[in-house]
């Protein structure tokens, strides 16, 4: 037992601290406080902060992904709209082109038909002219032939007259090939 006065007193009075009691109380207090101030509580806060940060980080990441997806969707939608417009334009263009080509062809066909018609008309005209010319040259001789025939034969017999006409016509037919209608006149 320590022989110190205070220590001796402390052995009978529970409210008087012994020196060694004070010493070890101070040591304990100091160690505990240093431990909690320097280690336990900072570590505790670090854990909580880290966890909160992680949660917030994940939320931010998810937000970011959401935003990106929305942006991509918007972009695709815009592109799709542009493509639609382009397709419409192309279709329109094609229709216009088709109509133009059709019109051109039609015009060509018309002009060709006109040209053919004109050629045909010109040919017909030329042939008619030729027919008229040949008729004109032949009708005179025919008329002379007919008249000489009429004069050469006696015309009192009906049967004879008609036979003569028949023969005359047959002659015309035999000699005349280019203008049968003029021969009949």
């Amino acid at each position: 037992m320590p022989e110190l006065v205070l220590a001796a007193e402390a052995e009978t009075n529970p409210f008087l601290p012994a020196i060694y009691d004070i010493t070890w109380s101070l040591v304990v207090l100091l160690v505990v406080m240093v431990f909690f101030v320097r280690f336990a509580i900072p570590r505790f806060r670090q854990i909580l902060d880290d966890r909160a940060e992680a949660i917030e980080g994940n939320i931010a990441k998810a937000d970011d992904a959401q935003r990106k997806a929305e942006a991509a969707l918007e972009q695709y939608t815009a592109q799709l709209a542009v493509a639609r417009v382009e397709a419409g334009q192309i279709r329109e263009q094609a229709r216009a082109d088709g109509q133009r080509i059709l019109a051109e062809l039609r015009e060509q066909a018309t002009s060709e038909a006109n040209r053919i018609t004109a050629t045909a008309k010109a040919q017909i005209e030329a042939e008619r002219q030729a027919a008229v010319l040949s008729l004109r040259s032949e009708v005179g001789s025919l008329a002379i032939d007919l008249a000489s025939g009429v004069i050469g034969e006696s015309l009192n017999d009906d049967a004879r007259a008609s036979a003569m006409v028949e023969r005359f016509l047959a002659d015309i037919e035999a000699t005349e090939n280019t203008a049968p209608s003029a021969g009949k006149n």
Binding site: M1, P14, T23, S25, V32, F36, R43
Partner: protein, 271 residues
Amino acid sequence: MLTAANLLISMASEEGEFHAPGISEFLGLPALFFEGTPFEINRIILVRLVAIGLMLLLFWIALRKPSRVPGRNQSIAELALGFVQVQIADQILGKEMGRRYLPLLAGLFFGILAMNITGVVPFMNISGTSIIAMPLLLGLVAYVVFIYAGIKALGPGKFFKNSLFPAGVPWPIYILLAPIEFINIFIVRPLSLALRLLLNMMVGHLLLVLCFSATNFFFFTAGGWVGLFGVGTLAFGFIFTFVEFAVYILQAYIFTLLTAVYVQQAVAEEH
């Protein structure tokens, strides 16, 4: 408790009658190390040191490698620290002040809890806080802290004025009120903190020793039918062990809570 019981066995067998445990449970214990120096270690001091050592070791193990997804140890440590943070620091002091005083309050709570709890730990069987210097020092810490907090928040003039002359009282009352407030705040508060803790621990220990030493006496010293009383005292010993366990936690909580309340009152503009 075993030591105490053994002590009582020898006493009882020598004199043949029962002696209730007394102040000698706490004072005049034989020194184990460094006898006669300021670093003398006796049974209670040893218990105190071991308790604190274990408590710090457990926290160190639990928080040594912090991970975002906590393991079992870390979860328990977080839960324990979270209790002090939420139930004491934030609730009494608010978020901002609570943050500043959390390390101190956590140190007080777990320090007191560790030293108290040894009272029901087998082979220790006495609380590290059951001799005066520790509770007194803890009370002093609370005292210094709330005065420091008040002076820092309001300045010395306003702090003492707020403390001694509470607002909303007609001035003649101050003649009576100021001395009462002075005694209450600057003398009674730290002492009441210290004595509440000390006496709870002492009385709890005495109660348990009484139950178990009486059991011992009834079973082994007093023979015959009287020995059956030992069954009753043993049962009481069991019950009081649980009661004391609750008291140890409660006292740590009350001490820390009151410290927080004193700090809060000291920094309040008016109260």
